[in-house]
Amino acid sequence: MTVPKVRQHPEHLEWVGKSIPRVEDPKFLRGRGNYIDDYEVPNMLEVAVARSTMAHAKILSIDTSAAEAVPGVVAIVTSENVADHVNPNPDFGPSPERHTWHCLAVDKVRYMGEGIAAVAATSRAVAEDAAELIEVEYAPLEPLTDMHEALEDDAPLVHEALGSNIPFQRNFVFGDVEGDFAAADVIVRDTLRWGRSGGQPLETVGAVADYDAATGMMTIHANSLTLTHFLFTMANTLRVPSNKLDIHPHPAGGSFGAKFWEVKTAIIAGMMARVTGRPVKFLQDRLDNIANGDHHGSDRYYEVELAARSDGTMLSVRYKVVDNYGAYIQFGVGQHGNSLAQAIGPYRMNSLQYDLTAVLTNKCQQGAYRGFGSEVGNWILERMVDLLAAELDMDPVELRRKNFIGPEEFPYFIPTGNVYDSGDYEAVLAKTLELFDYEGWRRRQAEMRAEGRHVGIGVCTCQERSVFSATEFWFWFDEPVAAPVTSAPESVTLRVDPMGAVTATLYSNASWGNSAETMVAQFVAEELGVHPEDVTIVYGGTSQGMPATGPGGSRFTIMASGAVEGAAQKIRAKAAKIAAHLLEANEDDLVWEDGGFVVRGSPDRRKELAEISLAAHMFKHSLPEEIETGLEAAHVQDHPYTTMPNPERTDLGVFYPFVGHASHMVVVEVDPETGRVEFLDYTAVHDCGTVVNPRSVGGQVIGGTVQGLGTTLYEEFLYDADGVLRTPSFAEYLIPSALDSPTLRVGHNETPSPYTPYGIKGGGEAGRMMAPSAICAAIDDALGIRIRRLPATPERIVEMVDAKD
């Protein structure tokens, strides 16, 4: 694909841009959300999974006799026979055969909490009772949780077949890094550590599976399978033909990435349904979700160098990163593709180096968490920019402004090959400074400091890439690429019924808190002239489905807008033929206006969509011969802007092209005795192109920011040296409460994308991608310290203060 054509966006929009109340809310407000645990079928069994109590151990034997004797237990599958029932799980990682991943541990356990047996019983309580009676004899192996130890020659091996603990290592160089560093007047260096946190939605992952031996059909209802067009790979795992697997999506009670593609739960449910011949529900409990949910976030150690001239002009950046993936690596190193999509931030730099080492250890594996790794990259770069500002004694705002890519420089190709489609970073900064009253806060800060208060101000200016292309996943393979996938589609079907009422069918697990139904309803309203609340939204199962990728990487709103636009165009094209016939007019003389066709210059000669649709459905023989009955159209929206990586991987092509921007400014007061951080003010201005529903974007920004606050101050999946998970519940894994959360001022700037319908860019992940940078800078400023490790818990803040004194 070459560069897509630049769009002319309509000047007037009827529905896009309005904060209409969300169309999905009435069902949620009534407690009728149809979440996966609300779904039950007759004769259904429930599953509980017995989990490993060891971090790393050979499984010597498993005794299920006591568990089998519990009344109500129907079947048990264990590590010893799981491979008789299912194939390994789908795995996008490099060389999956060298770190094989099953739905239950095989031969040995690789982290505390890994499943060793699945028990199906007449109730969840009985299944849990039985699971506790399963006796496992282990031969303990040396546990490995530290990523640096994992790199040592004599380290215990997580996967013997891999021969090391390094599934991927490569040093990417983009542009003339050596030359740019040689030309630098100043180079700032630091080591930084991003701790492991995760989405932890309040609803866990679940699935209800039903296998029909008569037809061979495996039907699975699930809340976590959104990469719909890859679900054929799960059919292989379950040993059913791909056309005998039918997945039905349920709204997710929160995801934040954690329900992007969580296949293990559905596979266990499917396996147990086949073994028992009965429908089976498996719903994780909170411990399953934290310890064994396959969706921990990034866990990285960086050595970074930023090169600049003495006037503050940034030249180049070198990242050396080690990422602790845990026991498996299901998405390969895709989290680093996200970092590479925007690795120079909003700053004009001509080169960068990215030396990446992935390691495996005895932790739960990583998955997706809001930002998918790019949030880490933002924090790293912003930490370095703050360090450079300190080194040059420049105001952190001025240093950033000086290096911004200018509004006239777009589309801007960054050294990795990705493109930033459009932007106006100066405008975002100016709006933030104004909303926040930066000068005023600097004055008040001086006054408060004079009173002995520890008040700090932090600023960040960061990117949000949106809409990944499948080619992102090429960079960790050499040519020829093992699976050179280029498709990342999203589909919608629109049906106009005889009364003119519109139903939109979605084909991914689209609803996970992201206002997916409201977005689609607003687009349908815009395109077909109906009211958004009159649009019915339904979900298609995969067996009748169309290609879809779902939300993730801030893609759904843009992709759905294109899918609706395309389907609506097809509907209008057919409607125009019918209207021309009904109006006895030439089709070329018809104009689409306010939900109907009108003859140009004759406003009284008009046919509404409902009239046209009634004719289309009911009066076949009053219409021209070639018009088929009905008014329905489907459209597959493929990725709007993808170019191929080069074989040497010195140019990764365009793979994440719609790039938003944001600035956060925050004031904190910190108690140096206790490490408590109090928010005095918080302003966030985001530019995600044309805003579809400002209130919804505001909600995403605020919610994402509070998640970022949790990442910064509290949240961590903490494993000790023995591999024991020290944060197995919400009593230890602390997510922010209302009292921990600031009240934000939110502003929107709108720099439309030239390549998407209406000019939309993704915005769903942005808050979390900015907040850690701004909050850390503010805490540093308050206490005269430098945060180099997240989370900066109260204990760690006090330690930093003590170390300074």
């Binding site: 009534r30 979440y35 909303l435 909600g699 919400f730």
Partner: protein, 176 residues
């Protein structure tokens, strides 16, 4: 496992049942009575997704046994809008987009109702502190606080709810 006869009032209707001693109140509501609006998030009383009102006071139905509710008057989210119209509190949550995924919402609504009933003139600080009992992983709480305050005003007859949620339609709309 011993079983016990319990008699409760749920959303205004009498219900009698024989429950296992270990049956949690939320499992009783969801599985025995089919009231699936009450959600289970953590099963340890930390998140508040399972919040219901028992004799007008909020309780965590995941860490309470059904037998402990014997003789009690239970109110779940299903009671708020029995007919076509949403409760003013639900309307306020909708107007302000005080929900995203909707999973914490039933518990948050019942906790908010308890707060407003106890103090119809609650301040923003009191609303924020009051809902800090319940986790929301989506919204960052701000629009929930907005909704609770607006609902309180409407329920005591001060305003007609207003259109605050649509006050930021401008491209550079400011919120908060």
């Amino acid at each position: 496992m011993s079983t016990h006869e319990i008699n409760v009032t749920v959303n205004g209707a009498a219900a009698s049942a024989s429950v296992e001693a270990r049956r949690s109140l939320v499992d009783f509501l969801r599985h025995d009575l089919g009231l699936v609006g009450t959600h289970v998030g953590c099963e340890q009383g930390a998140c508040g997704a399972c919040t219901v009102l028992l004799d007008g006071r909020s309780v965590r139905s995941c860490i309470m046994f059904a037998v402990q509710a014997d003789g009690g008057d239970i109110q779940t989210v299903e009671s708020l809008a029995p007919g076509a119209d949403l409760h003013p509190l639900q309307e306020a949550f909708r107007r302000h987009q005080g929900l995203q995924c909707g999973f914490c919402t039933p518990g948050m609504l019942l906790r908010s109702l308890e707060l407003i009933n106890a103090n119809p003139e609650l301040s923003p600080e009191e609303a924020r502190e009051g809902i800090s009992s319940n986790m929301c992983r989506c919204t960052g709480y701000q629009y929930i606080v907005d909704a609770v305050l607006d609902a309180a005003a409407e329920m005591r007859g001060d305003t007609a709810g207003g259109d605050t949620a649509s006050g930021d339609t401008a491209s550079d709309g400011e919120e908060g």
